[in-house]
């Protein structure tokens, strides 16, 4: 890990803290209010706010987790740093794609 990756990992962690808390609040609200899937989708579809909230969340998670996975692979497996970086990049892109697909499913009209 160099200083650039360190800053990206810490910065994305800072971004995720309020988003995780917001996500938990949303879960509690939706379940305690007894909302159906249709109720939820009626609020999220077409909403720029929810698209931004979960879009930023997915981007932060993909970057943060990929850097962490890169470290784990480099330190725990006999992979060079470059190969660990390539695996982590693929992992991060996969997370980003899956997350973007999930966000699109709830916010696109």
């Amino acid at each position: 890990m160099n200083v650039q990756l360190y800053i990206w990992q810490r910065a994305t962690a800072v971004v995720m803290v309020p988003l995780v808390l917001g996500h938990i609040v949303v879960i509690f609200y939706a379940t305690r209010a007894g909302m159906s899937a249709a109720d939820i989708l009626s609020r999220t579809r077409g909403s720029i706010v929810w698209a931004a909230f979960y879009g930023i969340f997915v981007a932060a998670v993909a970057i943060h987790a990929a850097i962490g996975i890169r470290n784990v692979l480099h330190e725990w497996l006999p992979l060079g740093e470059r190969r660990a970086g390539r695996f982590a990049l693929v992992f991060g892109l996969l997370l980003a794609a899956l997350g973007a697909r999930a966000v699109a499913a709830v916010v696109l009209p």
Binding site: N2, V3, Q4, L5, Y6, I7, H74, E75, W76, E81
Partner: protein, 243 residues
């Protein structure tokens, strides 16, 4: 006071990377150190035993070994403190190549000091006036807290990150770099921060704090490394260093 008629069962690593433990019986003595035990074996039982020491009083940092699983300075480690049930197992330091028996090759350890730019780079000449450093300045206080390293390699041998990542500079080299970063007379701090901010530098530290727990000089390399992380991060964000 120990029973001086008692015997210690001492298992010493014999060989190099491949080898085995060999057990010796050593008389128990009052105020006996682990180094005394190793020396007794070499002088009275097996003169082919290889180990390293110099000052015997905790100054030179030569005699560190793995004692019952933990790296320690053997000259200042009393047998009474570590010999549970009258047994000692002594091995060479971990994370370093073994030359023979209890002797490790310290070259990689000191090479990383060089890599971390752990050498003072004067910014003035002998013709300039003497630098005036206030003893109570924050920078000098940071140096004071980290300067007493004796290069024994205990922190390096006990560091998980060194074990996992052979490129990691290690606590001792980074602590040395931290003392120089805080030395107002030094003129190579940009290059030094660049060196410690690279892959395998200070940002690779997981802050497990084994170095702090094991350091025989009671230094806190984790705090020094945290200081380097802050300084290197600030330098990177200001564009003073690059990756």
């Amino acid at each position: 006071m120990p029973d001086t008629s008692a015997q210690l069962s001492v298992s010493l690593w014999r060989g190099a990377r491949e080898g085995r433990y060999q057990t010796y019986m050593v008389p128990r003595r009052e105020s006996q150190t682990v180094l005394d035990v190793v020396t007794f074996v070499q002088r009275n039982i097996d003169p082919t035993l290889s180990y390293r020491f110099a000052c015997r009083v905790g100054v030179c940092g030569s005699c560190a070994m793995t004692v019952n699983g933990k790296p320690r300075w053997t000259c200042r480690t009393h047998v009474a403190k570590v010999a549970t049930r009258g047994r000692l197992q002594i091995a060479p330091l971990q994370n370093l190549p073994v030359i023979k028996d209890l002797t490790t090759d310290m070259a990689p350890f000191f090479a990383k000091w060089q890599q971390a730019r752990g050498v003072f780079a004067p910014s003035q000449t002998r013709h300039d006036a003497m630098a005036r450093i206030r003893p109570d300045s924050p920078a000098r206080s940071a140096v004071d807290a980290a300067i007493e390293c004796i290069n024994c390699g205990v922190c390096y041998a006990g560091c998980d990150t060194v074990r996992w990542n052979s490129d990691y500079l290690g606590p001792a080299a980074l602590t040395r770099a931290w003392t120089l970063v805080n030395d107002e007379r030094d003129g190579a701090n940009v290059a030094r921060l660049q060196a410690v901010a690279a892959s395998g530098g200070c940002h690779a530290c997981h802050s497990h704090q084994s170095c702090q727990e094991l350091c025989p000089q009671a230094l806190n390399p984790t705090a020094a490394i945290a200081g380097l992380k802050r300084r290197a991060t600030a330098a990177y964000l200001k564009g003073e260093i690059k990756t």
